[in-house]
Symmetry: C2
Subunit: 406 residues, 2 copies
């Protein structure tokens, strides 16, 4: 398994394009992904009760179970809280792409991200989608252009590609993601798109995706807000030519490892680019009773505004970490807890068996000055380890979100 250059167009047979069609004032706002070979499709979606129209569209296609050819993604408008008109607009968006490519309407997936509660500008969509589709390309640039077009408050494109082997056969998997705010995924998350040329059944692809998401996208938080539009879509067109993966086993594991790396990379990239974030925070929590409790504790730490502002201020205020664990809802013995902080500048123990340790403020300050900091927590309750990612809370987060609509 090795990292290679590329993103959503890295795998054989996948084309992509991005363009500016006029949903946003200036920046690119529409991306399309296409495979001439029909693709097996797996997906995971937000658990927010208020779901955007395109989420309903993509879930319905997943349940119907047939193959797909394309994805249309717009930024600038979430098509959420838009009622029946929104549902129709999502379907019409699929239709216009289908007509442009000569495929079926239900072979097109649709994703949207942006402001909630504003009707989709369908004239713009109907005119823009065929134009952007004209520039579909298998090139690296095609993928980069698409990755740029799905950004909202993101400051960088998020793409990755990996080459792996199932048995003797080489396959490629690539992806792109977006997300910088409203990030606290529950089940799926934000927008993540993964394409691969591996040959795999729908059941095994969905199984691999579900497993990979649990320890990647579902382990990140920027601001504790679960979006109405979170979606991760995986398309597999089989062009790698491997014997089809139709059960668990070595080939499944080999593919899963690559899929997990792609999901984890995209998830961590999203947190690193969290709105206003200056620091990436990783919680490595060991000794939990089980995965759910470990996840709840780790995410409680990373969601605490007080923890996040302390890290922004480079202040070794570990009491806030301990406090956030205490109100997480998980029952534990505080007298067994150890807490350390670590970065490339070193490691410093703060709390041992529930009691504060004398520590060097100077050394703690050096550790906290780094851009990537790990919070090491030992629970002493069981054998489960979990890792979760978050970011600090800065002035810029307030600035970005105090005036996002305009």
């Amino acid at each position: 398994m090795k990292l290679i250059q590329g993103g959503i167009t890295a795998a054989k047979g996948f084309k992509a394009a991005g363009g500016h069609i006029g949903i946003k004032a200036k920046r690119k706002d529409l991306a399309v992904v296409y495979s001439e070979t029909a693709c097996t499709y797996a997906g995971a979606f937000t658990q927010n009760i208020v779901k955007a129209a395109p989420v309903h569209w993509d879930k319905a296609i997943l349940e119907e179970g047939h193959k797909v050819h394309a994805i249309v993604v717009n930024s600038g408008n979430a098509n959420a809280a838009t009622g029946l008109q929104g549902e129709k607009d999502a379907a019409d968006t699929a239709l216009v792409m289908a007509e442009a490519m000569g495929i079926g309407q239900k072979e097109v997936l649709v994703c949207s991200t942006g402001v909630i509660g504003v009707p989709m500008p369908m004239d713009t969509i109907k005119k823009g989608v065929p134009e952007v589709a004209k520039s579909l390309s298998e090139s690296f640039e095609g993928g980069e252009s698409a990755a740029e077009a799905i950004m909202t408050t993101d400051t960088v494109k998020k793409t990755i590609a990996i080459e792996g082997k199932v048995g003797d056969v080489t396959f490629t998997i690539g992806g792109m993601g977006k997300g910088a705010g409203m990030i606290h995924p529950n089940m799926a998350t934000l927008l993540g798109f993964v394409t691969t040329d591996v040959n795999i059944t729908k059941e095994m692809l969905q199984k691999a995706l579900g497993k990979a998401i649990n320890t990647s996208f579902n382990m990140i938080t920027v601001d504790g807000d679960t979006s109405t539009n979170d979606s991760v879509l995986v398309l597999a067109n089989g062009l790698a030519g491997n014997p089809i993966i139709d059960c668990e086993g070595e080939a499944f594991d080999q593919f899963y490892e690559a899929l997990y790396e792609v999901c984890k990379y995209l998830a961590v990239s999203i947190v690193r680019d969290g709105e206003g974030a200056t620091k990436l925070l990783e919680v490595q929590l060991s000794g939990a009773k089980n995965f759910e409790e470990g996840k709840c504790l780790a995410k409680s730490i990373l969601t605490s505004s007080l923890v996040k502002t302390a890290f922004f201020g480079e202040d070794a205020n570990w009491g806030r970490i301990f406090c956030a664990m205490g109100y997480s809802g998980v029952h534990f013995d505080p007298n067994k807890v150890n807490i350390k902080i670590e970065s490339t500048a070193g490691v410093e123990a703060m709390l041992k068996a529930g009691l504060p340790l004398p520590f060097s403020e100077e050394k703690a300050k050096r550790i906290l000055e780094e851009n990537e900091i790990t919070i090491l927590v030992e629970m002493g309750e069981g054998d489960t380890s979990v890792t979760a990612w978050g970011c600090d809370l800065s002035y810029d987060y307030v600035k970005i979100n105090g005036d996002y609509r305009s």
Copy 2:
């Protein structure tokens, strides 16, 4: 029932004092409250697993069930995550007050607020408590001085007094509170102290407190962080001379109304003074299935960083309100929801039956420019109404909490 001047010393027989003893660099850091007549005592405490030592002390006395005479409160140090030494320090703090006043050690309640994980400066406490106790006074100033001494990041003192009647007998109830950050009470909250001269049994006092807290302190949030030290203590010395309230009925209701007003006033004052807050937000949510669901929905709105920053930016981004309801964990039909915003500048409907309404951006802006804004939500699911309070998220919140310890 009428509002009168005063606070913790308003009720007959209660004295208070505040002073600077050296826990904090400059500001007052120690308050004492005292009644020569022994007091019936009710309390409610944080449900955080990590509880501060004084919380353990006060809970133990509540369970023992005897009467008390005094409260000692320090600010600047939370005496939390301080282990057995912390428990001993809380007990020693009670002892030094007991010796100064000639009362029993277990007739003294103790509360602390400040930084977590730092040992209490017991030499300072032992020297300082008797000195401050010397200036105990029944005067208005005594109460004001105590209210000032319990402040941490608070910018204003929080005091209230009410005169009411049970039957023909006039009684007085007064209180003081503190809290500006780490405010997301679960069960009890922050520090709230209430004194009354009403004559009431312990059981009825505890019952009234539990009921009052559910719709006051437990309905506020500043930052979603539940503290390790949250405590609300009520002392009743019976000096009003009314026939003892020992069951529910008219007298109980009359007292309860006054207690609720005191609790609500202190709770709302705390949110209004929320760290960095520029606006008080009130959610009035009606049509919920039951109280728990209504509370969960209202607090999900008020805890959302995206909602809070939108109000700071005076941006009518109601989609974030709807989104926060959707991920609250409560199941509801989005197509029944109505949302309006209201202030002294007017009212504007944003969402009706799950669909956006055309609204005047100009009028919305005028509504949002006010300092107190109400978010009106109709669920259409049942008959329960709830009210909850929160505040916006500003640059100053980040500033205050990026460097709280130093």
